[in-house]
C-alpha cells in the first residue's frame, strides 16, 4: 500500500524501540503486531485496535483518533522542515492519556498531544532522536 496525501491527524510524535536491539531495548519485543523493528520505518498508533484504545485513551485528551490497524500506512511530515517519512503501523501506542496538553513547537507553531510513536529509523528520517518529540502532520 502506498503512502497517501489525505490529511489524517496532527500532533506530537515521540520514538520508541522494538524488535531486535541493544541495551534496555533488547527486551522490547515485536510490539502489538509482532513484527515491529527499530531499524524499519514503523510506527505505533493509539487506536490500532479496541484493546489498544482502552490503554492509550486519546479521547481523554479530546483526540478522537480513528481506528487504523496493523499494516496501515501513513505519511508523517515534520511540521516545520517538511521532511517526510512513510511508515507502517506495527504497534500500539503512545499512551496519549498520560500526556494530555503536552505541546511541541517549532517556528512558533505548536502541536498538542502525543498521537504517534515512531521507530528510531522513522523518527531520525525527519528529525533528531535527541529531541525526543517532534510536531508532525499525518497523512494516509
Amino acid at each position: 500500500m502506498a503512502c497517501g496525501s489525505t490529511s489524517l491527524w496532527a500532533g506530537e510524535t515521540s520514538w520508541f524501540c522494538c524488535g531486535n536491539s541493544w541495551g534496555p531495548c533488547g527486551s522490547a519485543g515485536g510490539g502489538a503486531c509482532g513484527n515491529c523493528q527499530s531499524s524499519a520505518h514503523h510506527g505505533a498508533w493509539p487506536n490500532a485496535s479496541a484493546a489498544c484504545f482502552s490503554i492509550t485513551r486519546p479521547d481523554l485528551c479530546g483526540e478522537n483518533i480513528p481506528r487504523r490497524g496493523c499494516g496501515s500506512v501513513m505519511n508523517v511530515r515534520h511540521q516545520c522542515s517538511g521532511a517526510t517519512v512513510c511508515i507502517t503501523i506495527t504497534d500500539c501506542g503512545p499512551r496519549t492519556k498520560d500526556w494530555c496538553g503536552e505541546a511541541t513547537c517549532c517556528n512558533g507553531a505548536c502541536r498538542t498531544n502525543r498521537v504517534l510513536d515512531l521507530t528510531p529509523a522513522a523518527f531520525s528520517a525527519i528529525g533528531n532522536l535527541s529531541s525526543g518529540k517532534l510536531p508532525v502532520y499525518i497523512y494516509e
Partner: protein, 207 residues
C-alpha cells in the same frame, strides 16, 4: 550553546559552523562520492539540501560498535548483518549530550543517519550513541538514581547534574522533587553498556 532547537531541526548557524569547523577526526573527508553528485561527503553534508533528512538516499544504521578503524565505525546490526559508518567533518555526535567522536567506544550501541557511499560505507550526518527513549514506570527514587520498570525489566536511571524533568506536559525544569513512585515516565537518556544502567537526560512524567 546547543545550536539545535528543541524540535531537532539543525539551525542555519549550526550548518555553517559545521562546514567551517575543523574536522573532529582529522581529515575524514571522503573523495569521489558519486552518489552525492561527485561531491565529497563533508562538502555534501555542508550543502543546504543534503542536510534535509528526507533525502531519498538517506540510510539508517542500527547496532553495536564492534571496532573503530580510523574514522570508520564497524557496526554489528541487532538483526544480523554488518555496516560501516564513516564519520566526517560534519557528522553530529550525541552521547548523553552533543559531543565529539572521540567519546565513542567499542561496545556502544548506535543509531546513525547518513548517505550510502560507493564503497559501501554510510557517511554519517548524525550518530546517536547509546540513546534510549523508554516508556517506564517509576518504582523507586534515591538521591542519585531512580529505579524504573520498563516492560518486565528493571532499569536503574542515573541522575546527572543536568538531568531535567517535565511534569504533565509542562516545560523542562531541574526540579526532580515532584517525581513520585508509580508515575508513568518517559526517559530520554544514554545506556551505559558497562553496568546496563541509563544516564537520565530528561524524565517526563504524565498525569
Amino acid at each position: 550553546m546547543n545550536a539545535r532547537n528543541t524540535t531537532g531541526v539543525p539551525s542555519e548557524g549550526m550548518r555553517r559552523r559545521r562546514f567551517l569547523t575543523a574536522a573532529a577526526l582529522g581529515g575524514a573527508t571522503i573523495v569521489g562520492a558519486s552518489a552525492l553528485g561527485g561531491l565529497d561527503a563533508d562538502a555534501a553534508f555542508a550543502a543546504e539540501p543534503s542536510l534535509d533528512p528526507a533525502i531519498a538516499r538517506s540510510s539508517f544504521v542500527e547496532g553495536r560498535i564492534t571496532g573503530i578503524t580510523g574514522s570508520v565505525l564497524e557496526v554489528a546490526g541487532s538483526s544480523g548483518g554488518h555496516a560501516r559508518v564513516q564519520m566526517t567533518n560534519v557528522t553530529s555526535v550525541w552521547k548523553v549530550r552533543p559531543t565529539t567522536a572521540d567519546v565513542i567506544e567499542v561496545g556502544d550501541g548506535l543509531y546513525a543517519r547518513g548517505v550510502p557511499m560507493p564503497d559501501g560505507t554510510v557517511a554519517a550526518d548524525a550518530v546517536w550513541v547509546n540513546i534510549v527513549n523508554l516508556d517506564t514506570t517509576i518504582r523507586g527514587i534515591a538521591k542519585n538514581r531512580v529505579h524504573l520498570a520498563h516492560g518486565q525489566h528493571e532499569v536503574v536511571g542515573n541522575i546527572l547534574a543536568d538531568t531535567g524533568a517535565s511534569y504533565a506536559g509542562r516545560g523542562l525544569t531541574s526540579d526532580l522533587s515532584r517525581l513520585r513512585i508509580g508515575q508513568s515516565a518517559q526517559v530520554l537518556g544514554a545506556w551505559r553498556p558497562s553496568d546496563d544502567s541509563v544516564d537520565v537526560v530528561r524524565i517526563s512524567v504524565g498525569h
